[in-house]
């Protein structure tokens, strides 16, 4: 509790004590002495509300909750309901205190969740370690990261190896191993060894700065529900005030016209209890708090959402469009099959890899990566590259040809075309003898099928995959991960056109999932753009509305779940708070409830709504 809150707490306790003493003595509410004695706790607990009400009148801000509380309690005092006047003030203050405490607490705990800000960086100067502000470290300078410390800047490891915990960034608890030559991202925590890192970015451009900027500035875009509530609050309070005035005047005037006693005090009392319920606090605090907690809960899972409006959109997603390469698949080519090979599989792979040892083509790299042993390049000579066809080289004195069907045709080698596998087929011939072929494919992510299944389970009716690859490859990948539809052979600009068509036909909101590298136009065009694997990619963080720090596809379903839970809480709170208030207004007008019930309704609803809102912070695992 801060100073302000403590002061209010002491005032509350003192008031309760004084009332208890009055009840024990007992002090009569009828006498003039009673009226004077009750003034002490009343002013003690309510002086700031009364002062604020006066200031409000001076600034022509009549319809605020201070004014209403002042009128209601002064009125109650005038009706000689002293205890009630004190109690209304007391409960109002208790409610306000609880609210400010709860909000402060969740504000703190949520900002702690995303506490990835590095405090310092270690640099070596004159043979000694010195701690400096990460802002002062130059690009290219060497920093030293000890075990247990946070990586302050993005860079490349030049000495040492360790495992890094990325949990604060991605929600993933499995550590990531790094060694010399690996790029590392700021915000991670160094678990084991000492790392010497050459920085590649200044602090303000580093991943951690970008993420902090995103998180801190999230929710400056308000959701429809939040805007609805501010509009509602704007009209609700004045409406209740005029309602109270009407409740006071109309029945009494009606009675006078009919020649009956006016019962002024009865109607005044009912009108005053009307005013007590007029504070829109429960709604006004619980809705933004729910969204804030929802955004906080998501970021703990490594899902950064740029505003509460996106959280709202995410909950209504009915169609998810995926990019293939890098999203459904890993975007890394691998040798996925070796067929029709008469010689040893590893031997053929090694021959192919040696022949391709000087090529920088991604496919050549994937062949080299498939060989587990280190390659002895001295075994290779006379490498001849035939662009678009392949390569011919002498390995161990034997002629090795590695390439597509056209290369085999040129050499007059008969080859077997691949029947089942999907991917690029590379034939290998040794000394003009056909030696089988390698299939090189982009690997589908392990949990892709499960992730798509989860989305379907959540009621996402349509999943579509877009790819520049040919029909055959697209169909096979779509079947494998059970995506419902696919569009193949798309050029980059055609992807946008395709998305336009999907948007035109969609019933709910459309989300696009990509890696954020070259699909920025599509990410911005759809209702909600989700970028994956954003750790270390500024482009993705800029372009998307939702940023998944790692490339775990399951997080898409999880983020939809989080958003739905949050929105459910928001609607619960709206309906509950407005419902209870309306019921109390009706009962109060009919004279069934009194001011006590009214203040309980007001404060009680707020406490329940705030507690319910905080629930949005918690995300169930899986």
């Amino acid at each position: 509790m801060n100073k302000k809150q403590k002061k209010v707490l002491y005032r509350i306790l003192a008031t309760v004590a004084i009332i208890a003493v009055y009840k024990l003595i007992p002090v009569s509410e009828e006498s003039l002495i009673g009226a004077f004695l009750y003034l002490i706790p009343y002013l003690l607990i309510g002086y700031d509300v009364l002062l604020k009400a006066l200031k409000g009148i001076k600034n022509r801000q009549v319809f605020d909750e201070n004014f209403l509380m002042a009128v209601a309690t002064v009125g109650a005092y005038g009706l000689k309901d002293y205890l009630e006047a004190v109690a209304v003030m007391l409960f109002y203050q208790i409610g306000e205190l609880f609210q400010s405490y709860a909000v402060g607490k969740s504000r703190k705990s949520i900002s702690e969740l995303m506490d990835i800000r590095p405090d310092y960086a270690n640099i070596e100067a004159d043979g000694q370690l010195r701690q400096v502000d990460p802002y002062d470290v130059q690009v290219g300078q060497t920093i030293i990261i000890n075990p247990g410390e946070r990586v302050p800047l993005d860079g490349i490891v030049i000495k040492g190896s360790s495992s890094l915990s990325t949990a604060a960034l991605t929600g993933e608890s499995k550590p990531r191993d790094v060694s010399e030559g690996d790029e590392i991202v700021s915000g991670c925590i160094n678990n084991e060894g000492v790392l010497y890192v050459q920085t590649t970015k200044a602090f303000e451009d580093s991943t951690v700065a970008k993420i902090l900027d995103l998180v801190e500035n999230a929710s400056s875009l308000k959701s429809k529900s939040e805007n609805f509530i501010s509009r509602f609050a704007h009209y609700y309070t004045p409406a209740v005030c005029f309602g109270a005035l009407a409740l006071f005047l109309l029945p009494a005037l009606y009675n006078i016209l009919k020649g009956q006693p006016a019962d002024w005090s009865v109607w005044l009392y009912r009108a005053l209890s009307f005013l007590v319920i007029s504070c829109p606090c429960a709604l006004v605090i619980s809705i933004p708090l729910s969204f804030f907690a929802g955004l906080g809960g998501a970021s703990r899972q490594g899902i950064l959402i740029k505003g509460s409006n996106y959280l709202e959109t995410l909950s209504q997603v009915k169609c998810v469009v995926f990019d293939k390469t890098g999203t459904i698949t890993k975007g890394v080519f691998e040798v996925s099959g070796v067929h029709h090979c008469p010689i040893d599989r590893d031997e053929m792979l090694e021959y192919a890899a040696l022949a391709e040892s000087h090529s920088s083509h991604p496919i050549a790299k994937s062949i080299r990566n498939a060989v587990s042993r280190p390659l002895d390049e001295s075994r290779v000579s006379d490498i001849k590259e035939f662009p678009g066809h392949g390569v011919i080289a002498i390995v161990d004195g034997r002629q090795v040809a590695v390439g597509n069907g056209m290369l085999m045709d040129q050499l007059d080698v008969e080859y077997i075309n691949c029947q089942d596998d999907v991917g690029t087929v590379i034939h290998v011939a040794v000394d003009w003898q056909y030696c089988g072929h390698l299939v090189i494919a982009d690997i589908i992510k392990e949990n892709a099928r499960q992730a798509i299944g989860k989305l379907h389970d959540l009621g996402v009716s349509s999943t579509i995959m877009l790819t520049g690859d040919e029909e055959r490859v697209a169909r096979s990948v779509a079947d494998e991960v059970s995506i419902k539809e696919y569009r193949a052979s798309l050029l980059p600009q055609q992807k946008v056109e395709e998305v336009e068509k999907i948007l035109g036909n969609a019933k709910g909101k459309v989300a696009f999932v990509g890696d954020g590298i070259n699909d920025a136009p599509v990410l911005t065009r759809t209702d909600i753009g989700i970028a994956m694997g954003a750790m270390g990619s500024d482009a993705a963080i800029e372009a998307a509305d939702v940023v998944l720090m790692d490339d775990d596809l399951l997080k898409i379903a999880k983020s939809v779940k989080i958003s739905r839970k949050c929105l459910r809480i928001v609607y619960e709170n709206i309906i509950f708070a407005i419902g209870v208030k309306l019921i109390c207004l009706v009962l109060g007008a009919l004279g069934i409830t009194n001011m006590w019930a009214a203040i309980f309704a007001d404060v009680g609803v707020m406490v329940i709504a705030v507690l319910n809102a905080i629930r949005a912070l918690f995300v169930r695992e899986n």
């Binding site: 302000k4 600034n59 801000q61 306000e96 909000v103 929710s219 606090c281 006004v284 605090i285």
Partner: protein
């Protein structure tokens, strides 16, 4: 031009009132107050002096909520 300011305010409804007051201020194109993060995002009209405008914004906010603060 868009700027972010830290603010200090006690209740959510007061934050809404500050937002309204800021939006009424001359030179402000759009202002959004976030009570949870205690921040005010202000988008200014073309060619105005942000410092001057923010002084007026603070004055207007003080009128509706006298103990609020904007850290300029």
């Amino acid at each position: 031009m868009k700027r972010m300011y830290n603010i200090e305010v006690d209740c959510a409804n007061c934050a809404n009132k500050m937002e309204e007051a800021a939006n009424r201020t001359e030179g402000v194109k759009n202002a959004v107050v976030n009570f949870m993060t205690l921040k005010m995002a202000v988008e200014f009209e073309e060619g105005v002096d942000a410092k001057e405008v923010m002084k007026r914004v603070l004055a207007n906010c003080r009128k509706v909520e006298d103990d609020c603060e904007i850290y300029l």
